[in-house]
Amino acid sequence: MMNERILQQEFEILEHTADAALKASGATPEELFSRLLKGTIYMVFNGYPESTAEQKKFLHLTAPSLEDLLIDFLNEVLYWIYYEKLVPIHTEEGGFQVREGEPWRLEGEFSCSRADFQRHPLQMDIKAATYHNLRVTERDGQLETTVVFDI
């Protein structure tokens, strides 16, 4: 059921019976990815944890399509949060690049803060970002997509 929406500034958390879904758009793949990343962090912590940059993570991903690259990216970040206890904080454009090609590539550096789960408890156990009905579409110069997460 996606009829009622919680509106955030750069993303929307959509209702889904058993899982959770995130909708975002962006003028570039980087902006789209950044907004979905922010939405993912928001869902995990039910807000944004206070943070200061303490560690840099370099990320290099390749995938056969933009959609595959997006899912790999979000699942990578979920791994950082839950298992390495690192939360990316500088996600604005310029920090990383997405390049079209065969394969598609994402490369960049992410400033991360160390997650303090005592101060900012994890609020949602996201198993993974899924490919469910996943399609990145372009409309009026904006890339748009909805990602369903398995909870």
Binding site: M1, E4, I6, I13, E15, H16, T17, A18, D19, A20, N46, P64, E67, D68, D72, N75, Y79, Y82, Y83, F117, P121, L122, Q123, M124, D125, K127, A128, T130, Y131, H132, N133, L134, V148, D150, I151
Partner: protein, 482 residues
């Protein structure tokens, strides 16, 4: 709102005809009642039933159980059997939480004994069994130990001291899937899992102390060791981060396999590959390993539960009669032999949010229950009943030996949080004699009784339809949630 074509066959069976959607090679068969149907139609789960009917090699029907709800790719509460030699296997048909399942433990105790120690028992269980989002456990397995668990399942952790030898016989597949290979599980999956053995997790997973409130079938209940007013313990959880990672890794492989094998699908999350392909064999081996991890996880949790009971009642677990009745998987793809078109056929049965429901005289069912059928364990929610059913002959002939798995959600988590407060839910349950221990108020609100379907109606449907038979009903006394 789903407005597709649904033909009523009888009171509990509805058909999505093959003509409904291009690419469907079998019809959809939905077990439900008029009462449950309106809620089912509110989301797109029936469309997912039709989508599953398009996967190559699917046999007879794409099934939906009465607890069906909207998943990703496959619906939750869906069953699909494919030809083992010519069909496909799909990680989406198993889910991220591979071998999420339920085990039920009986005791010699009657409810009055728990009433005297209710609060201290709740505290002891909450302390003994780590739970919550991202929570690690008391154990951190070495990589060689983990590999042994992945390939050996319950018998391995029993040898490590977490349980009794007879526990092995009370698990589906005897707690160890054949064909499991640790070398097919990625190092990241192993890293995610090695600290999570013996942990409950969060979400809909739980540990409950229950009371047998009603016995419907005295003979079968007696065979399962159940009696009125008895105290039981139910554990619901799965393969934790290890299983999630196995699924994630596999779906990536399947995305390429779909192109390689020219498979056309209506939803990319249905990604699949021929079972007999290298990708299919690798997935089955990794999934089986994750399944073994899940069984070992529930086994280890049960060991902690036995210790907590022993501490509170000052008796050994054996003296308390804390015996495993059965352990069933809810998310799995299994290699099974079923009758199809009058002949025995090897099939791959995907059960995603569904329970194996084998009837009498199947060699896969442990000897103690073989003449009557396997226990089918159906958890409710923290405010309602859970059920023990037994598998039937009819389920063997009609649903590849499958039945429902629980209540099924009707309300999203975000809507639950808007309308319910965890503190209020706990207070209301307390007044009804249910003690809750939980890591987060948010988690309690998201899992409140109101967010689930009517489990009594779900069980009535499978009982009346004949794909499992009611044996006993339990109600919660103590609930531990992540």
């Amino acid at each position: 709102m789903w407005t597709g074509k649904l033909e009523k066959l009888d009171e509990f069976r509805f058909l999505i005809p093959r003509e409904y959607k291009k690419g469907m090679s079998v019809p959809g068969l939905v077990f439900t009642s008029e009462k449950l149907l309106s809620a089912i139609k509110e989301d797109q789960s029936l469309e997912q039933v039709a989508n599953v009917a398009t996967i190559p090699g699917i046999l007879k029907y794409s099934y939906a159980m009465p607890d069906i709800h909207w998943g990703y790719g496959f619906p939750i509460g869906g069953v699909a059997a494919t030809d083992w030699m010519k069909g496909v296997i799909s990680p989406g048909g198993v889910g991220y939480d591979i071998n999420c399942g339920v085990r039920l433990i009986r005791s010699n105790l009657q409810v009055e004994a728990v009433e005297k120690v209710r609060e201290s028992l709740a505290d002891a269980l909450f302390e003994a069994v780590p739970c919550g989002v991202g929570e690690e456990g008391h154990l951190r397995l070495s990589y060689p130990e983990l590999d042994r668990v992945l390939e050996g399942g319950v018998p391995v952790v029993v040898k490590m001291g977490y349980g009794w030898e007879e526990d092995v016989n009370a698990c589906e597949e005897y707690g160890c899937m054949p064909g499991a290979r640790a070398d097919k599980v990625s190092s990241r999956a192993k890293e995610r899992g090695r600290g999570q053995m013996g942990t409950l997790g969060a979400g809909n997973h739980f540990l409950e102390v229950q009371r047998v409130a009603e016995v419907y079938d005295e003979v079968t209940a007696s065979a399962f060791g159940l009696f009125q007013n008895q105290v039981t313990v139910m554990i619901h959880c799965g393969s934790r981060g290890l299983g999630h990672q196995v699924c994630e890794d596999s779906i990536k492989v399947m995305r390429s396999a779909v192109e390689k094998y020219h498979i056309v699908l209506p939803d990319p999350q249905l990604a699949c590959t021929p079972i007999q392909s290298p990708e299919g064999k690798d997935y089955f081996a990794a999934m089986a390993a994750a399944a073994n991890f899940a069984w070992a996880n529930r086994q280890t949790i049960m060991h902690f539960v036995r210790q907590a009971f022993s501490k509170i009642f000052h008796q050994s677990p054996r003296d308390l009669g804390l015996t495993l009745i059965y352990d069933v998987a809810h998310n799995m793809a299994k290699r099974e032999i079923h009758r199809f078109n009058g002949k025995e056929k090897e099939v791959c049965v995907h059960r995603k949010g569904a329970t194996r429901s084998f009837g009498p005289n199947r060699k896969e069912v442990t000897e103690a229950y073989r003449s009557i059928g396997q226990p089918v364990l159906i958890p409710g929610n923290m405010g309602t009943s859970s059920y023990v059913l037994v598998g039937t002959e009819q389920s063997m002939g009609e649903t590849f030996g499958s039945s429902c798995h629980g209540a099924g959600r009707v309300m999203s988590r975000s809507r639950a949080l808007k309308t319910l407060r965890g503190q209020d839910v706990v207070e209301i349950l307390k007044k009804r004699g249910i003690t809750v221990r939980a890591k987060s108020w948010k988690g309690v609100a998201e899992e409140a009784p109101e967010v689930y379907k009517d489990v009594d109606e779900v069980v009535r449907v499978v009982h009346q339809a004949g794909i499992a038979r009611r044996v006993a009903r339990m109600v919660p006394l103590i609930v531990v949630k992540g």
